[in-house]
Symmetry: C2
Subunit: 503 residues, 2 copies
């Protein structure tokens, strides 16, 4: 009886998972393949598939199946597919039922309309035209928060959408640590100077070839992956056996390569989810923070480390005359250049988190009406000076730089920084388990890392909460900022000669 109900639930969730992956394909195609004029009909198609999936998921039938299965599920092994599916789905379902369909629709519509306004405002350095749609998005977000029972801080509600169970208080504790320990590193480096960037020239075809060689060494295979160019790179896919990453190419630097390694990290997480979870809500990475830990790991802890370049630098020199005269050590320093800069997505490992802290603080201020939206650019600029020591020349390179607020995404930014921190936490565990990791990277063998991640993290999918997942990987459910700061200081001591321990 319960088994039959479970099978019914599972079948319904499989159908909803199919619709979710269909949405992913509609979105991937939109950004990678679709002819320009297909945009308006595509918006209708995505709205239709999204609405059907949402309606099916929030149905009373699923609610009553979950009710009926609750105690049966609790009798199953906690780690079993059955118990996990019921546990995770019950939480998803309860959350999804809090928000009325018309508010959800209004949020989607407002976000869609705001996008073009934001694009124009950013292009014209005109915050004033963005102000009304930002206000509208913010009001909707407040109404969204009002649908829930705020136990401590309103920001907790939106944060939970992107990083389940994470609290504002916890993020604040972590970020305060970073302000105290990471921000000084940047100032120490700035005091040392040196390590200027050089003008470079990278051919597009050679970049394509090189990126493919790199991700193929990492684990990309033609039978289960795609790599395509797009304007704003992302990772997507239609299942654990169909992973799609995207990239872009710049003429004068290898930012595209690091972006590709980043998206590979996202893709590999999805690729190595246990196939038995396929067609269920458990068949994906557990949270945005954990996902970002994987992308940042392959981009930075692998792709900006010496062993990687000891292996790949000779090939880089073969392909690109612009680096022919360099040695691997100077190239290593070049790709690890630290300099406070205006744009988050272009910032280096040492400064990135500081960009996030600024946004985290402004988002809370907005939700709590502690800052008027008219004042937002000023608040942005003064914090940029406080945290990074630089002047913001215009709003295009300041408060208007990110897409998130135009889409109504408030509470998303912290996951980027949390991802950085988690990546270092996991890395300390990995190097303890795999003492020969550097040596294998230097030989171009990334299988030990890939397999470790698959076995310890990726295969879990979304069976547990982010905290439970982290605990299974590193032994604690708490995000700890110390390993990341340790990693940064050690790397910067090596490159810039700053002190190996804090003053």
């Amino acid at each position: 009886m319960s088994q039959a109900k479970f099978d019914d639930l599972r079948g319904r969730l499989a159908e909803i998972a199919d619709l979710g992956k269909t949405m992913a394909l509609l979105g991937w195609d939109q950004h990678v393949m679709m002819p320009r004029k297909g945009a308006s009909i595509r918006a209708e198609q995505m709205a239709t598939v999204g609405r059907i999936a949402h309606t099916k998921f929030t149905s009373a039938e699923i609610g009553s199946l979950l009710d009926d299965l609750r105690s049966w599920g609790e009798q199953q092994d906690y780690d079993s597919f059955e118990a996990s599916l019921i546990r995770v789905t019950a939480r998803d379902w309860e959350k999804s039922r809090q928000v009325p369909a018309d508010l959800r629709a209004e949020m989607s519509r407002s976000a869609a309309l705001a996008n073009q306004v934001w694009i124009d405002a950013r292009a014209n350095n005109d915050f004033k035209t963005f102000l009304p749609v930002l206000r509208k998005n913010l009001d909707l977000r407040k109404r969204y928060i009002d649908c829930f029972d705020v136990k401590d801080e309103p920001y907790d509600i939106v944060l939970d959408d992107y990083e389940r169970d994470m609290t504002t208080k916890e993020v604040r504790r972590i970020f305060d640590y970073l302000k105290e320990h990471q921000a000084p590193l940047v100032k120490e480096v700035a005091a040392r100077g040196g390590n200027d960037s050089k003008p470079r020239d990278f051919g597009f075809e050679e970049q394509k070839a090189f990126e493919l060689e790199v991700v193929k060494a990492f684990g990309f295979t033609d039978d289960a992956w795609r790599l395509d160019p797009t304007v704003h790179p992302f990772a997507s896919g239609t299942g654990v056996t169909d992973i799609r990453i995207t990239t872009r190419y710049f003429p004068d630097h290898l930012g595209g390569l690091f972006g590709t390694m980043h998206e590979f990290g996202h893709g590999l997480y999805e690729r190595q989810v246990d196939p038995s979870l396929e067609r269920s809500p458990l068949a994906r990475g557990v949270s945005l923070g954990m996902h970002e830990s994987q992308s940042r790991m392959w981009e930075n802890l692998v792709g900006r480390a010496r062993p990687f370049w000891r292996h790949f630098f000779p090939r880089l020199q073969e392909l690109f005359p612009t680096v022919a005269g360099e040695d691997v050590e100077s190239w290593y320093r070049e790709v690890n250049r630290v300099e406070p800069s205006l744009i988050r997505v272009e910032s280096d490992e040492a400064t990135y988190n500081l960009h996030i802290i600024l946004r985290f603080e402004l988002e809370q201020a907005m939700l709590n009406d502690e800052v008027s939206l008219e004042q937002l650019p000023e608040e942005w600029n003064s914090r940029m000076f406080d945290y990074l020591g630089i002047e913001v020349p215009n709003d295009t390179e300041g408060v208007l730089q990110d897409v998130h607020w135009s889409g109504g995404s408030i509470g998303y930014f912290p996951t980027y920084a949390l991802g950085n921190l988690i990546s270092a936490q996991i890395w300390e565990k990995i190097v303890a388990d795999l003492p020969d990791l550097d040596a294998s990277f230097e030989q171009g063998d990334f299988a030990p890392l890939r397999d470790w991640l698959g076995e310890h993290l990726h295969h879990l999918g979304r069976k547990y909460t982010p905290g439970e997942t982290l605990e299974r990987v590193v032994g604690t459910s708490q995000i700890d900022p110390e390993p990341y700061v340790r990693y940064l200081r050690s790397k910067l001591a090596d490159i810039y000669g700053i002190a190996t321990t804090a003053a």
Copy 2:
């Protein structure tokens, strides 16, 4: 009241249209972009989206809206969107309700399973292993026919799925005319001989460039079309502003080019459907036969005619050294070479319909149990000798060559030949309306033809029946084989010197 019900109906049909186009994208991606290992999860996604669309369409709600709107619809102008939508949807709905969901599911499953069996059987020239799945497909097709009220011949039921309102008797009348008047042309040509093919060598990159130049001259634009390589070319898309055609390249002949012009014809039909029909079941070509008339027109009546090559041959010579020494007249004869051959999809204009007649006759014999399936290869081979004068050396190049029967598609083949016939019927109307057509082609201007087709045919979409549509274009609802035979005889008289009138 009725307007509100109509709006309700229209909204439901818009949602179903979105799902239909989403299916099209899932299918296009599967054949053009998807990594190989994505196949099994993709099958689930397509089954889910297809099932949801079918369930929504066959719902009692749509039936009762149609009932309630019937008399209101009849009061509207026959040509109006409202009257057309109600009329066409009522017919679709009634047909879809005849077939139980489990039979439909069994047909899909059987077709999916048979596909791999057919691929292997064809590769191994092993009809025996294909026999059981063919028998299963045939039995299911008979059960399908039993769901309907057979007025005259069972074959009418399956034919109507692909060419609404067409009857077996009518096709037989048309095909008998072709047997009497087209088959002798092939024999007359064979008696003349001459026009041997030459070994050729065409670079892939140059083929890509040339095909793009051709379809861009025809009306392909980057903002609303895509052209991509695939294994078995087809045309698809997600709306009137997003048309996707596919092609393939051969090293030793330009079959890919003619295929691309063919798919362009399909694509242009969809591209020029009246945009006001978008997101409704009227936003597509009216039937397979009419669609094929458009693809064959651009492939043959345009792409295998002198004016086209007078314009493009110099460019062909620039790109391909293999034709450098030719003149346009010899090239024209080469691309119009007539020779009875084994494979339908590679056959020329003069013999193509004869391949179809054979299949049409065998399909009826199968449905009527007039031939045992064990005898099918023999029946195939003896007809090939009767109609085309050639011996079939093996089943791979005989009865196993087409995918259709493995997919359960019986009744589809005649639409190919009907398309050829319709193309010539429309063409006679076009050249009467546009006396300067040849001259504009010679200057590379295909807009007059494209616009004529848009205005007289394409914009109608599926508002009328195929017969009503044909009547609006050429003045009669009857498919007439005479113009095609006239066209063929005249062309072959010119190239091979056969008599300009039948003996």
